[in-house]
């Protein structure tokens, strides 16, 4: 499976984006997000960015007020996932220009679109920023 879910959560613990690659019911999602947010937001900058949770790992990284949390299988490469998070942020940055929480809130569908280009079925399939952004730019142009 590789990546199981990707969450973006702000400092107050509100979910800003949630993308799951396995089916969970709403209740399961709510419980999961609650647990994870409680676990990860309590950690300090000096602590490492990997948290073991249930039978998988969460790799997370904080950018300003937003936490990017990625749930991965135990044998996934943690550093690569950190790079993936960074790539995602850079891509959004290139598209929105100085991306911030509000951009993601108001353009959630674009953020999802980027993720769709980058990840399929929990596998990372695209790592080039221009390739990821190409369809979005086309869409913007036509609409």
């Amino acid at each position: 499976m590789g990546i199981r879910f990707i969450l973006m959560v702000n400092k107050q613990g509100q979910t800003r984006l949630a993308q799951y690659y396995e089916y969970l019911t709403l209740e399961e999602r709510r419980a999961l997000e609650g647990e994870i947010v409680r676990k990860c937001l309590a950690r300090t900058e000096q602590q490492c960015s990997f948290v073991e949770h249930r039978n998988y790992k969460i790799v997370y990284r904080r950018y300003a007020s937003l936490f990017f949390l990625v749930g991965v299988d135990n044998d996934e490469n943690e550093l690569a996932i950190l790079e993936f998070i960074h790539l995602l942020v850079e891509t959004m940055d290139r598209h929105f220009g100085n991306v911030c929480e509000l951009d993601i809130m108001f353009h959630l569908e674009k953020a999802h679109f980027m993720l769709e280009e980058m990840v399929m079925n929990g596998c990372i399939v695209e790592t080039s920023k221009s390739n990821i952004l190409m369809p979005i730019q086309l869409m913007d142009k036509t609409s």
Binding site: A18, L26, R43, S49, E109, V125, E126
Partner: protein, 951 residues
């Protein structure tokens, strides 16, 4: 619903309005959202697709972020999905991917729409459909759309082809037969010059290989080429993961890849790739010394890094390598032990895991000491994790690691006194278990129990109740090792025991009864045996334990003062003061024993004390307490008849020596002296089923279901009729006394044992306990980290046999040499088995059919003459095809369990399930033989594929 009014469409709130509204709302978020939901429900029914799609867009925004149910809108999703306008179509697809699952009733309706979009000339339509399929594909969808996906696998548009590759994983998972159609094309994509396609394909193979590596061994040449040629770190990481799975299966392959991997490790600047190389080497290639050394060097760099992420990963890599190459951990022990006090709990846990990995019988004492000191300093959570891991490490395999049980019992006592300790239940179980299993530990056990019991402060801590319960039980059960039973009674009845929960208090009372019986018995025995009071077995035990260096402690006790406490009413008048003196004259060696005071006076004091403390409990509402209190008081009542008042002359008592009471006491004591032993987990199996009792046949199925639930040995008790009975019987005979009742009871017991002896321990086993001596190794209580490091430096050094001053005491084990309950082996789910079966088939065909065309292009195998390969494979072919045929026949049976690895299955299967299997239908039997036949075949059929690449 009327048609869409123009007003509705004009004044519909857009998603942006909704988001702004949520941010600015004044009525509370949930109220605002439920209002918005009302709107959405209305709007979504609109016949205008634009209105509908915006409503759906809002719904799919709210659903994941505010946990709003959207399953009711499934049909609306489908409507939007089929819109000709891309924007609306996209909204529909997003909603479908988000909300559909296998149980969505309208799922079947989307097959055609998906097919249409998959075949669309517009690459974005196809992309949407593929994304959607990747999220929601079910068995039906996967089966129906396999042809379309297959077409797209060869698409000339890179973005579509890439997504088609991504979707394949889900399709294979749901519909294994798709492999027959798509696998060849998927493999061809590994040759693609486009890095995006390659990266997607490698990602898919990485996932596939992690589930069933063996099937992908034939593809090793392709992966090898990627490993050598690719410059993309993402791809390299995935390929390394594949090799980590394949290398252990094929040593020639491992030999081949170890060099390129080391090259990457040396050259790369990317930490992620370097770490993946390290992980691959330590997990799968650790037998290659040079590679391992390089990896260890890199691990050290990670450990020394400031970045907590790298440090954590360094520790993680160590824990992978630890089971096979302990020396790597030992080399880095300073870092590991220092990390125990890291501010990051993840790092602490990881280093604790490592420390536990190096524990052995030679260093368990030192490591436990170090860990206990860390536990004292840590937060409650980590403290208990530390305690838990010490407890489980030491008790592993029936205390395999513990050489010195006196030390271990003291350690348990020390743990109990740590304020944050919440491991009461574990410690309780171990105390009782050790009491039953290790005879030599009992004196120390009772000393430790005593020190816990007499401390009134401990009764205030609810986490300790379970431990106190065990301590009370130990005191009652092994009272003969006690130096001062009176003190025990006093501790068991102290006023603060009212804080205990009723059931534990009941244990306390039961122990009082046992101690009382023991005291009276010893007193009577003492009297009756006249001039030779110490030939008696029981007292012999006491005196023996006294001579083991405990005399000092015992004589330190201010016994007379204790007596005062026992019963202040009589203490000032003591007519039997001369009694101890008389015995003193007899033998000064037993001085302290007499101070214990099995004197008439002290017994009377004891009775008074117990009566005083237990009487109020008759008002208890708890049955257990009430009943036990009644027992104790009833016994005292009986004894009182023999001790009418304290002033009665001694002769009278001697005359009444053989009265009812002494008989009673003797038999009670005998009963209490039966040793409780651990019971074998398999004991139940050895009981024959009585005739006429029909056990439900169906229950056998439980074995497969509950196979992994193992009852813990420590929680079963049963009386063990050891040599003690026989000894007491013998001594009774020796003494030539009339011991009718006791003989009666013991003979009954012996008879019982004869009948059920099958599953009791042989009595001879307990006869040869070596005597433990009390040499205590000096304890170390330095508590600076540096000291620990130095300390462990000695202990971690791999020495073979520790020099212990005493032999390890016998630990009673029951299940040695027997078949332990087999834990049902974890079988990969049948789905993957099916998948791997098909893949093996397909690979076989591929290799036969287009080997010449495909391999010809490859550099790696180009120097290999094709003929040789054909020769190697030819003999296998007919059999392979047959097995493939049979396999497909089998698949038609649906979701039957199919075991991939016959060795594993045969090896681990326990008798019962085998029997069950034999009983089951004929088809099963046939299947098994097929598996047997196929097992070696697989290996022999696959291995020839690789050699030509390796040579």
């Amino acid at each position: 619903m009327s048609g869409p009014s123009i007003m509705e469409t004009l004044f519909q709130r857009t998603l942006e309005d909704l988001i702004k509204g949520i941010r600015l709302q004044l009525i509370g978020e949930s109220a605002f959202i439920s209002k918005a939901m009302e709107e959405i429900r209305k709007e979504i029914k609109s016949t205008d697709l634009q209105t509908k799609s915006i409503a759906l867009q809002k719904l799919s925004y709210l659903s994941p972020l505010h946990f709003v149910d959207m399953s009711w809108a499934a049909f609306h999703c489908i409507e939007c999905m089929s819109s000709p306008r891309f924007a609306q179509k996209r909204i529909g697809y997003v909603a479908v991917s988000q909300s559909f699952n296998e149980h969505t009733p309208v799922l079947l309706l989307i097959t055609n729409q998906l097919r249409k979009d998959l075949g669309s000339v517009n690459e974005f339509d196809a992309g949407l459909a593929l994304d959607c399929l990747a999220n929601i594909a079910t068995v039906d969808l996967a089966r129906d759309l396999t042809p379309e996906v297959f077409t797209l696998l060869g698409s000339s548009k890179v973005s579509v082809r890439k997504k088609a590759i991504g979707v394949i994983l889900r399709v294979f998972e749901k519909y294994p037969d798709a492999v027959r159609v798509c696998f060849k094309r998927l493999v061809e994509n590994l040759d693609s010059p486009d890095s995006r396609i390659l990266s997607a394909a490698v990602g898919v193979f990485c996932e596939l290989a992690s589930r069933d590596p063996r099937s992908y061994l034939p593809l090793a040449p392709e992966f090898y080429r990627v490993l050598v040629d690719s410059k993309n770190n993402w791809v390299l990481i995935k390929v390394l993961k594949i090799f980590a799975k394949l290398a252990p299966l094929e040593s020639r392959l491992a030999k081949r890849v170890v060099e390129p991997i080391c090259d990457h490790m040396r050259r790369t600047g990317a930490k992620s790739l370097m770490f993946e190389c390290i992980r691959t080497v330590v997990s799968s290639l650790s037998e290659y010394e040079s590679a391992l050394k390089l990896a260890v060097l890199k691990i050290r760099e990670l450990l020394m890094d400031e970045d907590p992420n790298l440090k954590y990963l360094g520790l993680h890599a160590l824990s992978i390598v630890a089971p096979k190459h302990l020396w790597v951990v030992l080399e880095n022990k300073e870092v590991v032990i220092k990390s125990l006090s890291d501010s990051d709990s993840n790092i602490k846990f990881e280093s604790l895991r490592l420390v536990m990995a190096v524990v052995s019988e030679s260093n368990v004492v030192e490591i436990s000491r170090v860990l206990l000191n860390y536990a004292l300093k840590s937060d409650p959570e980590f403290c208990n994790v530390i305690l838990g891991s010490i407890l489980s490490a030491c008790s592993r395999n029936v205390y395999e690691m513990v050489m010195d049980f006196d030390w271990y019992v003291l350690l348990l006592g020390e743990m109990s006194r740590i304020p944050q300790c919440q491991k009461g239940e574990d410690i309780e179980n171990q105390l009782i278990d050790i009491g039953m299993r290790v005879r030599d530990a009992r004196p120390e056990l009772i000393r430790m129990a005593r020190s816990l019991l007499i401390d009134p402060a401990l009764l205030g801590n609810p986490f300790l109740y379970r431990i106190l319960c065990a301590a009370a039980w130990v005191c009652g059960e092994y009272v003969e090792y006690s130096t001062n039973p009176f003190e025990l009674v006093e501790a068991l009845l102290q006023p603060r025991t009212s804080l205990l929960p009723p059931l534990i208090r009941a244990v306390y009372l039961q122990s009082v009864l046992k101690v009382l019986t023991f005291c009276i018995h010893s007193y009577l025995r003492n009297k009756s045996s006249g001039l030779f009071p110490f030939t008696d077995n029981l007292e012999g035990v006491v005196s023996e334990s006294m001579s083991k260096g405990k005399t000092q402690e015992a004589s330190d006790l201010p016994t007379p003062a204790q007596d005062d406490v026992f019963n202040p009413r009589i203490s000032d008048d003591n007519p039997y003061e001369d009694l101890p003196l008389e015995n003193n004259g007899e033998d000064s060696k037993f001085d302290s024993f007499e101070k214990n005071g099995f004197t008439r006076e002290s017994i009377v004091n004891l009775l008074n004390l117990i009566e005083l403390a237990v009487k109020p409990l008759l008002g208890s509402l708890e049955v257990e307490i009430l009943e036990r209190a009644q027992n104790v008081l009833g016994l005292i009542e009986l004894i009182r008849q023999e001790f009418p008042d304290q002033l009665s002359p001694r002769k009278e008592i001697l005359a009444k020596e053989e009265s009812e009471v002494s008989k009673l006491i003797r038999s009670m004591n005998d009963a209490f002296c039966e040793e409780l032993g651990p019971v074998s987990v398999t004991a139940q199996d050895r009981v024959r089923v009585p005739e006429g009792l029909v056990l439900e046949e169906n229950l056998k199925e439980l074995d497969t279901i509950c196979g992994d639930i193992q009852p813990s040995t420590s929680s079963f008790f049963a009386p063990r009729y050891g040599e003690r009975i026989e000894e007491s019987l013998a001594s009774d005979l020796q003494n030539g006394e009339d011991s009718e009742p006791s003989r009666e009871s013991t003979s009954l017991l012996i008879e019982h044992r004869k009948r059920h002896g099958l599953y009791y321990l042989p009595s001879s086993a307990s006869n040869d306990y070596p005597l433990a001596n009390d040499l205590r190794s000096g304890e170390n209580d330095r508590d600076e980290t540096e000291d620990f490091v130095r300390l462990t430096a000695q202990s971690l050094a791999p020495k073979k046999k520790p020099n212990y001053s005493k032999p390890r005491p016998v630990v009673v084990k029951l299940d040695e040499g027997e078949v332990t309950l087999s834990v049902a082996s974890k079988k990969p789910s049948s789905k993957y088995d099916l998948l791997s079966g098909v893949i093996q088939d397909v690979l076989q065909e591929t290799n036969l059919m287009d080997k010449s065309s495909r391999k010809g292009k490859e550099k790696v195998s180009s120097d290999v003459p094709q003929g040789s390969k054909e020769n190697v494979q030819d003999p296998e072919d007919p059999r392979r095809e047959k097995s493939g045929l049979r396999k497909s026949k089998h698949r038609s049976h649906g979701k039957e369990r199919k075991h991939k690895d016959p060795d594993q299955v045969d090896g681990k299967k326990d008798g019962k399930s085998e029997r069950a299997r034999e009983k089951s239908s004929h088809r099963h039997g046939r299947k098994k033989t097929r598996q047997r036949a196929e097992g070696p075949l697989n290996v022999s059929a696959q291995t020839p594929v690789i050699p030509d690449f390796l040579l």
